[in-house]
Homo-oligomer: 367 residues x 4
Amino acid sequence: MNTFGRMFRIATWGESHGRGLGCVVDGCPPRLPLIAADIQHDLDRRRPGQSRLASPRQEPDRVEILSGVLGGETLGTPIGLLILNQDARPQDYTRFRDVYRPSHADFTQEAKYGIPAMTGGGRASARETVGRVAAGAVARKLLAVDHGIRIVAFVRRIHTLQAPVDPEAVTPEAVDASEVRCPHPETSRAMVEAVETVRTEGDSLGGIVECVVHGVPAGWGEPVFGKLEADLGSGMLSIPAAKGFEVGSGFSGVSLRGSEHNDPFVVRDGRVRTETNRSGGIQGGISNGETILFRVAFKPTSTIRKPQRTVNRRREEVTVEARGRHDPCVVPRAVPIVEAMAALVLADHALRHRGQTGRPGPAPDLI
Amino acid sequence: MNTFGRMFRIATWGESHGRGLGCVVDGCPPRLPLIAADIQHDLDRRRPGQSRLASPRQEPDRVEILSGVLGGETLGTPIGLLILNQDARPQDYTRFRDVYRPSHADFTQEAKYGIPAMTGGGRASARETVGRVAAGAVARKLLAVDHGIRIVAFVRRIHTLQAPVDPEAVTPEAVDASEVRCPHPETSRAMVEAVETVRTEGDSLGGIVECVVHGVPAGWGEPVFGKLEADLGSGMLSIPAAKGFEVGSGFSGVSLRGSEHNDPFVVRDGRVRTETNRSGGIQGGISNGETILFRVAFKPTSTIRKPQRTVNRRREEVTVEARGRHDPCVVPRAVPIVEAMAALVLADHALRHRGQTGRPGPAPDLI
Amino acid sequence: MNTFGRMFRIATWGESHGRGLGCVVDGCPPRLPLIAADIQHDLDRRRPGQSRLASPRQEPDRVEILSGVLGGETLGTPIGLLILNQDARPQDYTRFRDVYRPSHADFTQEAKYGIPAMTGGGRASARETVGRVAAGAVARKLLAVDHGIRIVAFVRRIHTLQAPVDPEAVTPEAVDASEVRCPHPETSRAMVEAVETVRTEGDSLGGIVECVVHGVPAGWGEPVFGKLEADLGSGMLSIPAAKGFEVGSGFSGVSLRGSEHNDPFVVRDGRVRTETNRSGGIQGGISNGETILFRVAFKPTSTIRKPQRTVNRRREEVTVEARGRHDPCVVPRAVPIVEAMAALVLADHALRHRGQTGRPGPAPDLI
Amino acid sequence: MNTFGRMFRIATWGESHGRGLGCVVDGCPPRLPLIAADIQHDLDRRRPGQSRLASPRQEPDRVEILSGVLGGETLGTPIGLLILNQDARPQDYTRFRDVYRPSHADFTQEAKYGIPAMTGGGRASARETVGRVAAGAVARKLLAVDHGIRIVAFVRRIHTLQAPVDPEAVTPEAVDASEVRCPHPETSRAMVEAVETVRTEGDSLGGIVECVVHGVPAGWGEPVFGKLEADLGSGMLSIPAAKGFEVGSGFSGVSLRGSEHNDPFVVRDGRVRTETNRSGGIQGGISNGETILFRVAFKPTSTIRKPQRTVNRRREEVTVEARGRHDPCVVPRAVPIVEAMAALVLADHALRHRGQTGRPGPAPDLI
């Protein structure tokens, strides 16, 4: 299953250390303005080697649009995207071919496919996300142009450092101004220091990415199995290292009573709004017109430079120690991936919504 | 979208206060022993009116198997399941038809479909889950008979009361012995008291259900978009009132370093095992043979008896106060629903796994 | 796979001689007028026992709408449809349980599922089509109300008797006025006689159903794998006993040269039209606004009363002779099934079309 | 919809005159031997410029495997295939941008997408089939290696010339020895002459491709909507210019009585076989272990050099005359495309079959 979405559908391919990676975007409507630079921007934000904090792997990750676009506009045909690998160093990984790295997918992939996990982790490598980020940029463009939707994710927390920011007020500029994509300068500085410390120690840290989606109209999503939060959750939990997802009040809402948790409806500028937003912009699986808010928990990177006990393919207990380049904290680079998956889910729902409710004649005059 | 699953697929139907509810199970393999009692057991655990704590609605919820089974065995044909409604009292709800109840789906469903949310919440009502629980019982039987898989969910937390139990040791008997499905007697008593208190106050509480799956072999799930945690998350977040999902260490894993979080591999009884289980039995989207562990956060029930500010369909700000029967805490009744969704996801992956890896000849001798 | 469609999706269930049959229609938009009589009309046309020519089985086939409709309008929720079996006579079939009836699915179903084909053919029985016809009636209503689309199928041929009619001029009334659903009275009389003859001889006949769809706008369908003819073909070839499908000129178009076959474009009433319609209303997989025309070939019924050589489950060569009720020619009863499948395919494409091209703002002003 | 298949799934992309074409094969099991030459062979048979009869366009169509294969074996990860365009001459087509070529998809694609049909027909061009043929070669390899399945298609008819051959005896060598892929030398010679004649006249011819699949075991396919003939029909009718599909006796079976048409079961070498094969190897949607036989009708190529009446985008009636390279008869080049689609459908069913019937323990000992 390397396919995601129903109406706005993507199929991704490519191994970490193979010839390249890419994606087919199938279902993007025609006449959408799109150029390579729209996609490159997000790829640049995802790629490693951007700061001393991240993996030193040097990959320009230049995207090439092979089909589906002509004269700067989509054709309605599938959009083929290609990103060639350049700095592949399989030798960094071959020495692990016989060893199951702890909390990596080496063992489980071999259990499934009967072959040793490939050099660089194959499709379990975070490099796999290049294809989705490229596709997500197309989805994001569709949402922006057609619906004025803006998606902003940021690092809310690294390890025990949590940023006290109002998510609704976060701007993309403030996020990208921080080396760790945390829009709160003071916390950002502390995070940078913490990441730097574990990097020198050969250890790693996890964190939480928060995502804010502005401008989704009321009515997207479906009541039972196509709930917006279920599809967002599915998308986010498909990101490598993601261990949790919550929308609106999430896990902390458990400590509230119903009378404290419910969002009162009010009328503002003639529109039905909620006074608070503990629902996170979604009620009963369907958007209510408020800002959509969710969080994704990422575990500390599995690759560390410290010696670890493990087992090899001959069932011998051994010690393993990483030497190749790696990120001590993937959370900042997860930000554009979270945004991409959010864009893919919402673009899909935008198209599904039209089909589901799609009868000619006057629409309901609710909102 | 009232369809869930790829190979083991269900389509559910039915409104809270219509003629009945049901499900079609499409893709269940043939020759599986199955009788109505297998399904009835889980329906009985889901249905309201079981204790003074839950909604007093009286629904026997008798399931009828209309097709797909003959002589106590499945035929490989679709299994039609029917549960007639008996205690429908639409009058309890008609007075809300003009009012958007706070944090219910009344407003969003109207925004989507252009009709007032139906009596009893239509498909947004928790009664919709009857069909999934029935289908889940079939999936659970398949997993038990063919793979020896056991699924046990329990209430880990209500409001601020958290039960200190070892999830691996929890038994179904201990769970069902508690009125609130919490297998820790002392915490259970405190929870009962807390629920009773908010019931008399007309308020409501949320909580956390934890789920343990024993016996899933290594190798189920897929590396990219068919990750086991993504499909489990999607299933859980499609349950009414669910606001969060986490697997293994989840959100709390964020506070650990990689060296603390990684699960060392060891050899036990000749098999590759992990010493700890912060991965929750899933690595890189694929089961590793350890117990699968996840948690689902449920918000406090939206229906409360206290007066609340809201808006009606004419855009007037009004006050609403529930009077019909309702649960002050749905978390105990969510337990069999969580188990059902887990069974549906895993049965689907059991069948998908065979297709994905499905080549004739000797299988890989890994495990 | 008892599921059909992407946006307008159905899941059918039920065995020929079980408790009943039915269908879940998932994805029908809200606020469509719908009552049971809309569905009953097509079920009545499908059911046996309507004339001396068909199977004498007496089944009232009363449909019950269990969900998804309130006050004569769809809700946007899944529509549960139930038809109880009444005249089940499994004893007519039990004597065949050990014998593979020639050209039935007894052998292949056992090869697949490892159980003897069920009494009455299980899901391979033509009775399975009850669920699709019921669902098709909903699709037909949607197409009629929202798009003014009319679907008319008729018997073009039985055995060697071919009706010389202009398909565009055929009316439903003319079709149903004929006992064999052939709108050409003289051919109809000859067909009745031919069917009567083989019935007394215990033999059977096949034939061709032709289908005409008026009113599909230009632009429905998709260029590559969602071609309208591919989806129509898939739907038609899923009808029991169907052996062939052709659109427009079909197999006979092979004998023409390109210069004879191409449909010249002309302008009529300001619209782009084709002068001829050898394309059958579809070009490159997409409707062109002309009448859609296709044909389905049905083999002679496999059940005959003549002694036939065959094999039993113990691999013994034996002779089998049917005694139960059966149709000597299913082609007339296939007419409403062809219409139902056409309606299901087109309703699905109506909804998909909106999603595929679905961008806000002014639509292309082509037509 | 540029996606095909459920378990063995492909997503194709690429325009006729864009940067290139390709395909993602998602779901191919691991450890299948596969090298580029396996794919190149079928691409070479599909590509134009092979004989004086076909389009003189020169495209080497070299396939590059970008992912999913290592050391000559599949990894279980998606297989990315790329074929760069080399001899694109958009100028041949630009002069048609304002004119709807008769029986092409120019008008319908514009009706759908609101943009003029692209240079060279975009995705409606037969060049689109490059991706499927590449993917089909992978499917074919899987079927051959794992199940010993052989697929042989050939030209049964061009225009009025029909080859009197026994399909079961046709070999790939005999097919490819003929310039028009007709394994009957005498008919082949006549066909070559006929095609040569219309080429000089600027006209075109259609024909029928017949396909024979050896070695499919009994039990593949599904009874209702996953019927093997429905999926094969869907695949074949998605090929450009296909207007009809029939399996086994097909349309001509209509002229037989049931007693003539039924295939008697016999026991041969201890296996259940049919004496005749009017069923075409499929009964009730499921393979019966006999050779699968079907035919596809292709209309005469729409592109002809004769002047034709048509309409332009300004709704003016004009005359159009093709000048670019084109095939006077695409039927010979359709042969590998038919084989590819057959392979894709059957590989998908091979994997689905395992999931559908997929229970551990002893399989039914039927065959």
